[in-house]
Subunit: 171 residues, 2 copies
């Protein structure tokens, strides 16, 4: 798993081969295929095994600040080469199940913060928090996956402002 | 190009090979590589050549209706197997330049409708229409590429409602 992570960082997911991982790890190709059906499955497990796990969630602050930080953290994550390459490989292999496991924690954290905002009366109790979390993170993932525009600070600021207007606006 | 489109529909982009395209077209592999550097480049050109081109833009209607139709059209497009497979192949080959050409028309149409809304005073003249178009389409492309949830009617309705609240809400 360590060999796979090092190689995907160096070669990218299209250049990575099971042969190269086997050679670097000093094992046969069949040994790898016995445990993992594809490059994506191997890298998914390697990523979970070796990447620093979830930190303590930060103490809740003002809603605007928390959403701004959620967007900044999402941008930091997807622009990390290992995360980027593992996710793109999973998109390629159509492993939406594994991809969902990698991507879900961030979305769930936003949903939780929005539910808290509902309890505190910061936003309407009727709001669809699942859809609102997608409204916040969807544009980030769009820019990342499609490389349609840079994930810059001004984009993050504008995005959070637009989402806050939606959360606070009338029907 | 026709052979490539038929095969990607039947086999998916991971199953498609240049060998199979060459065999179906009755030419040698080298003939294909002489014209296109990769599967993605071939399919991109084939898609532009054979897919029905842009229809006349519909007459503008109420803003809510136009945004609802823009989301429905985007969902129809990305759930079409040929479009889906060509785009996923371009993601895999990191051809963001070609992908941008395929994806841009829909985003630009939303931006144009929002600029019209600004002229008509339907929404604030200060609004960042580029970011607002991403707010509308980003969650659609997220669900499509990550297959994170179904692209159903209720999702489209909720999304448009949230975006309209943002467009009309105060700062």
């Amino acid at each position: 798993m360590a060999a796979a992570l090092e190689l995907v960082e160096a070669l990218g997911h299209t250049g990575l081969t099971i042969e190269a991982v086997a050679a670097r790890a000093g094992v046969g190709k069949q040994t790898i295929y016995r445990w993992w059906p594809s490059k994506g499955a191997l890298l998914f497990e390697a990523f979970l095994e070796f990447e620093p796990g979830g930190q303590e969630p930060p103490r809740p602050s003002a809603l605007a600040d928390d959403l701004r930080r959620a967007v900044a953290d999402a941008i930091d994550e997807v622009t990390q080469r290992r995360f980027d390459q593992v996710c793109r490989l999973l998109v390629h292999e159509e492993r939406a199940d594994l991809l969902a496991l990698l991507m879900a924690p961030r979305r769930l954290a936003v949903e939780e913060r929005l539910r808290r905002a509902q309890l505190l009366g910061e936003i309407s109790a009727d709001l669809d928090v699942v859809a609102a979390a997608e409204l916040l993170l969807g544009p980030v993932y769009q820019r990342w996956l499609l490389r349609s525009a840079p994930l810059c600070d001004s984009f993050a600021d504008t995005l959070v402002e637009l989402v806050l207007r939606s959360l606070r606006g009338g029907p």
